[in-house]
Symmetry: C2
Subunit: 190 residues, 2 copies
């Protein structure tokens, strides 16, 4: 996500927004964002109606990258169980980075505390999409109650990402994959 002089002001703003909101939280000011992006406030307000819109756009822009991280490279051959474990293995790997601050979409929801905010809508969609993927795999894997298992996996995903991001837990020993293995077994999933 390096910002270069060749990127458009819009892209520079969205990259700076994604970086700074993730690192410092959604309360970061417009001045700091514009300074980091090398864009004037006047230009920013020509590109975005508000800071809220810019936050939502920056989350939307990262979405494809974020979701690709959680998808197994070879989608054809992986079993449903392997596909679910891949998501949690990726979470465990990502959380080892020194600058990891948890799932950016959950963080935005926790920080904004406002279900009507345009960025909350984007975050909710990303979360719903992951849950829906879990449910599809749970169905394919023969879980007794695929919707319930998917909701349980989301609790673990968000709990693990929040705790690792806050540095009150380390996932390095496979805590997340171990926990979801127990839940998949309990749900009768192949």
């Amino acid at each position: 996500m390096a910002t270069t002089d060749k990127a458009s002001p819009r892209d520079r703003l969205l990259d700076a927004a994604a970086q700074l909101f993730y690192r410092d939280g959604v309360s970061i000011g417009v001045e700091a964002l514009c300074r980091s992006a090398g864009v004037s406030k006047r230009s920013m307000y020509q590109l975005f109606e508000s800071k809220d819109e810019m936050l939502a756009a920056s989350l939307e822009r990262r979405r494809a990258w974020y979701e690709a991280q959680l998808t197994p490279p070879d989608t054809g051959s992986a079993t449903p169980r392997e596909r679910i474990l891949h998501v949690f293995r990726r979470l465990e790997q990502a959380s080892a980075a020194p600058d990891y601050r948890g799932c950016p979409y959950l963080a935005v929801l926790v920080e904004l505390k406002d279900t009507e905010h345009p960025a909350s809508a984007v975050a909710r969609e990303v979360k719903d999409h992951l849950e829906s993927d879990f449910r599809t795999q749970a169905e394919r894997g023969g879980a007794r109650d695929p919707r319930l298992l998917a909701r349980q996996l989301m609790l673990v995903f968000d709990g693990a990402s929040a705790r690792a991001g806050a540095r009150i837990e380390s996932l390095a020993d496979g805590l997340a994959t171990g926990t979801v293995t127990a839940l998949m077994d309990a749900a009768g999933m192949k």
Copy 2:
């Protein structure tokens, strides 16, 4: 947590801080806090070194109340499993309130993104205390790996509180208690 004129300026500030930080997030300004408490900024800075110190003190002050909520009324007769289920049943009940915004201690950690902040230290202590309680019950209940089970229960607790607080999940159907029951069974706990 109603603020009355009879409360001291310090208590009024701490009550207002607890309410507003929880409702609006840690970025709320000192002006708004003082206004809500009916205390001048000058008085506030005589009582607290900084807003950060006031946030930490407000979390510390709520701690006894928060932990009492999660403790079964009759501690003598409850089995280890019942004691753990009580915590998650209380979480499910609390999350049904319209003003529920998730666990205040996890929220502060997610929002501050700063392990050195005095309020992060208080939040971490409260989280560690709950995990330690889970571990004690897991040991008493004969879990194969009590520490691992305690860490798994914390993932569920924090995932459930964050998701319910963000209104992307409802715990009303017993999602949290059902999930930890599966994990306690898998851990061989009585």
